[in-house]
Symmetry: C2
């Protein structure tokens, strides 16, 4: 008889497993929210995607809205992480803006980011609502700061950085609603077109 090897600690401890489960729930939920919208997605739907029953979800989340909040936390980390790395360089403002857009177009197809973009500010709890709006404002503000830096160092023309930041951010956020990686348009072409628009506009000056 083969001697049983005593298994050392399982590959993943409880906390890690729990975290994985939560991540999976958030992913499934975000995908469902993007597919059918928040209100048309029931907790039973989400539970089914995750192959558990509804009450089990409550072991990982506080309530339905908490899913949205947790998704947003993940999205916030990723977007702010991108902004951190972009603004940490010694490049000029315009180059940082380019880098941000490139990075943003890469992550904007992720369901959790898409979910955040589509559902931000849609909270029933006024505190959660405020937090969501503030989080978005903070990000927008950081984009504005990049523009301001560019205006300052001369790489970006003088403009109302508040307005321009919102317009640009809305344009790239919009990508999350229509762009599909499997579709006709390649990622590179998309980035190229966005960058050209941002840099030069559309007017022909030749």
């Amino acid at each position: 008889m083969v001697k049983k090897i005593k298994l050392s600690k399982p590959a993943l401890n409880r906390a890690e497993k729990r975290q994985h489960k939560l991540d999976s729930i958030l992913r499934h939920a975000a995908a469902a929210f993007m597919d059918k919208g928040y209100y048309k997605t029931s907790l039973d739907d989400i539970a089914r995607l995750h192959k558990v029953t509804k009450p089990t979800l409550y072991y990982y989340i506080k309530n339905k809205e908490d899913i949205l909040i947790k998704c947003e936390d993940v999205a916030s980390l990723r977007i702010n992480g991108l902004l951190d790395s972009v603004t940490a360089t010694t490049e000029n403002g315009f180059q940082q803006l380019q880098a941000f857009i490139e990075g943003y177009v890469k992550i904007v197809t992720d369901d959790i980011i898409r979910c955040h973009i589509r559902h931000r500010g849609q909270r029933e709890d006024p505190i959660a609502r405020e937090a969501s709006l503030n989080m978005h404002r903070d990000i927008e503000y950081r984009v504005r700061e990049i523009l301001a830096k560019g205006v300052d160092d001369g790489s970006i023309r003088a403009c109302n950085t508040t307005i321009i930041a919102i317009l640009l951010f809305d344009a790239v956020n919009g990508i999350s609603a229509w762009y599909r990686e499997e579709g006709e348009i390649s990622h590179d072409e998309l980035v190229e077109q966005v960058l050209m628009l941002v840099a030069e506009g559309v007017k022909n000056n030749t």
Copy 2:
């Protein structure tokens, strides 16, 4: 005793009155949808805004979703009307694009237009959903045609008109979510900034 003057036909006949009531319902509904979102707005809420009771609404609308559909019809008429007048001129593509953006920024603060932008495609009935998406696609297509005309006549630089049309359209549609006429930013400043971005981008080329 004063002789009673026989009143001639009332100022508004029934069909007109009915139309006015319907318009008012749509307006109230659109405002409520923008304030709280479609699903958080009950028919009782809308009825209350209109100072009637819920069943009365059913004299004017088929069901809740029908409100969204009727709002969209109004929005479609206005946006396509703008596109009609813009494309009827002999101006070049870039000038037509400018004219469209100017006109669009003017109407984008209207609750019914905002409601359409926010809720397009969000239909339970698959046929209504398809209709909503097609309507939006048609408009987007017409913007693309303006760009294509501009590329053709040399007023707009060569670009992927499909992508650029969506990006620009998303940027201006986004305005409906944040711009308030009572706010800090004047309408003229907003239009100026949008047109500058569209024309020249943000890069400083001096």
